[in-house]
């Protein structure tokens, strides 16, 4: 349906010279639209463009400029920041702590994305084979988890993991493990384990729903035909189901990687629930600390620019596939 509409508009644009021929045909009312075309679309996008330039474009340019300036004590007293070229970026590339934060962020992001994908896909496959009531139950519960606002989810998880009266410590103690009064956030490894569980808990529903939507595209007739031709369940799965859901899986995986790079809220809130910041910083919280804590806007901007470039690089494939969708 949408394809048809866009083909028609495309055809109309392609031949402005042929408008005489077009208007000779019964679809005459098309003519006024053609006359208006040069201005109308631009007028329509102007509000969005203005707000995007104000709130995104300007800060972006400020950030690029600021990332070449040096901020120190003098700038906190109002001195203009001197231009230092790429010095902030050099510092960024040679600072071992920065590398720790980058690698930590990437490792955390990839671990979250991989585990989310595996669990999400398994749950989608599960939905496909269980009785109807079990599927509906799973869908409702996943929806509830997905709908939880991130800050509310974080308060609940801090309560679940509360060292004195949290239910997690109680359960682990009840089965005989030494978890009474255990503090989950003080050790960085355990801190990231907790963060991973929370991020995975929040992201699995989207993956499950998207993959399940993909699975419903697998036609019963095709599977049945394959079955009659003697294909084993395993062959049917890898030969039919997997190729059909592969596009969904790749797009969802990409989105997960992009989203799991932006876990500022989760990490920031877990940090404020009690942990050593320098040992648990990821890129987002590090930028926050540089910008608001030490007012080093030059370095904060340089790291931000790095994060933006990284995101755009990872998104390129997704954006390309969406553009294709737009043009189809």
């Amino acid at each position: 349906m949408s394809t048809q509409a866009s083909i028609r508009t495309a055809a109309a644009t392609a031949a402005p010279g042929a408008s005489a021929a077009t208007s000779a045909r019964p679809q005459q009312p098309r003519a006024p639209r053609q006359r208006r075309r040069p201005i109308a679309p631009y007028a329509l996008i102007v509000p969005s463009v203005i707000v995007l330039i104000l709130a995104m474009g300007y800060p972006l340019i400020w950030q690029l400029i600021t990332s070449t300036q040096q901020f120190g004590l003098a700038q906190q007293f109002g001195q203009p920041a001197p231009f230092v070229g790429l010095q902030n970026y050099v510092k960024l590339a040679t600072d071992p702590y920065m590398w720790t934060v980058i690698l930590r962020s990437l490792a955390f992001c990839l671990a979250c994305a991989a585990i989310t994908m595996v669990i999400g896909t398994l749950l989608a496959l599960l939905m496909n084979v269980v009785a109807r009531w079990v599927r509906v139950l799973l869908q409702i519960t996943l929806l509830l988890a997905w709908a939880m606002p991130v800050v509310a989810a974080m308060t609940v998880w801090t309560w679940l993991l509360n060292l004195r009266s949290g239910v997690v410590n109680w359960m682990l103690s009840a089965i005989g493990l030494p978890f009474q009064g255990h503090n989950w956030l003080i050790n960085p490894i355990s801190f990231f384990g907790v963060a991973l569980v929370i991020v995975v808990w929040m992201s699995v529903p989207f993956v499950s729903f998207a993959v399940y939507a993909g699975l419903t595209q697998v036609s019963g007739e095709v599977i049945e035909a394959a079955q009659m031709d003697g294909a084993s369940p395993r062959q049917r799965f890898f030969g039919i189901t997997v190729p059909i859901i592969r596009p969904v899986i790749s797009i969802v995986l990409l989105l997960q990687v992009i989203w799991d790079l932006r876990v500022f809220t989760q990490i920031k809130l877990l940090q404020s629930a009690g942990s050593v910041k320098s040992e648990t910083n990821l890129l987002g919280t590090y930028i926050y600390q540089l910008g608001t804590g030490s007012s080093d806007f030059g370095m904060a901007s340089a790291v931000s620019v790095f994060v933006l470039v990284l995101t755009v690089a990872i998104s390129a494939f997704y954006v390309r596939s969406m553009l294709k969708e737009d043009e189809s």
Binding site: S48, M56, L122, V130, L142, T155, P233
Partner: protein, 303 residues
């Protein structure tokens, strides 16, 4: 785990699949029972934190401090909710959140609707660049720009203001909203409008009487999406609304987490507060879930 192997039974019958499914599950396969048990366990694990929030919100602090948890809210009350309301900080935060959400939803829908019309009904120079820009901007993380946005807001004296943060939110939400509405607009054939014009309507009339009503579900879904984004947003609010007095609900709620690190916390009240923040979201979320999934993976999943 090669789950789908049991799918074979379901696919034998094309029509009346409801009955046939019952029939296949009657012919009990042991693997099917195992899968159902796993499914129920997974459902319980996923819903537990949500349940625990509701359960704790109904119990008194004395009960909650007991090392042995209380799993059912018998003998509970809404006292925690009363205490949250009486605390005096909930309603100002609610007011902030509602005001910001209202402004953002209205302007975002208007701007996105116009832009969606432009990209789905017209081919024009710069169209591809515009589409590319909104797709890219939609991917940018708030962490990558928030320090610059903080400096921008402080330089124009709009820190702690509803207007300032609303502008940032509109810009953050408008790209995906345009993308979502584009799908809806493109789904309505131009021919419908043209038919109306043949019957004597002006172009504007044809649009208002034919296309616009068909777009209503799309506008509602996009509006709810924008609302959810704004209602839940934490990162930008944290830097642009530094005053406690101008906190939105997420900022207000995180105050409890911060306090819990240093002193004894009334978890019953915190859970009641979380419930209050989460309820409207859960309610609205059920509306748009399907649209959001297909908007994000459109192209890979049809319909």
């Amino acid at each position: 785990m090669s789950g789908p192997s049991t799918g074979s039974g379901n696919n034998k019958i094309r029509s009346g699949n409801n009955r046939s499914k019952i029939r296949t599950s009657d012919r009990v396969r042991p693997s099917k029972v195992v899968y159902s048990v796993i499914g129920v366990i997974a459902a319980l694990i996923w819903v537990f934190p949500v349940y625990w929030m509701l359960n704790s919100s109904l119990l008194s602090n004395v009960v909650l401090q007991d090392p042995t948890p209380t799993f059912l809210p018998f003998g509970g009350s809404f006292a925690n909710f009363g205490a949250v309301f009486a605390g005096g900080t909930f309603f100002p935060a609610l007011g902030m959140s509602v005001a910001i959400a209202a402004i953002v939803v209205v302007f975002c829908l208007l701007f996105a609707f116009l832009a969606a019309l432009a990209i789905s009904r017209f081919r024009f120079r710069g169209r591809r660049g515009f589409v590319l820009a909104i797709l890219l901007i939609q991917m940018l993380p708030a962490e990558g720009l928030f320090i610059a946005q903080y400096k921008l807001m402080s330089s124009v004296n709009l820190l702690n203001s509803v207007i300032g943060i609303s502008v940032l939110y509109i810009a953050a939400v408008v790209p995906f909203t345009i993308w979502m509405l584009r799908g809806f607009v493109a789904g309505i054939p131009v021919e419908l409008e043209e038919a109306g014009m043949v019957d004597g309507l002006s172009r504007t009339q044809a649009f208002l009487r034919i296309t616009f009503p068909l777009l209503a579900p799309g506008l509602v879904a996009s509006g709810v999406y924008a609302f959810l984004q704004v209602w839940n947003e934490f990162t930008i609010a944290l830097v642009v609304l530094p005053d406690n007095g101008s906190a939105t609900l997420p900022l207000w709620l995180q105050g409890f987490i911060q306090a819990s690190a240093s002193r004894a916390t009334d978890w019953g009240q915190v859970m009641a507060a979380s419930t209050l923040v989460a309820l409207p979201v859960i309610f609205f979320f059920l509306f748009v879930q399907g649209r959001m999934t297909s908007g994000l993976v459109s192209g890979a999943v049809k319909g």
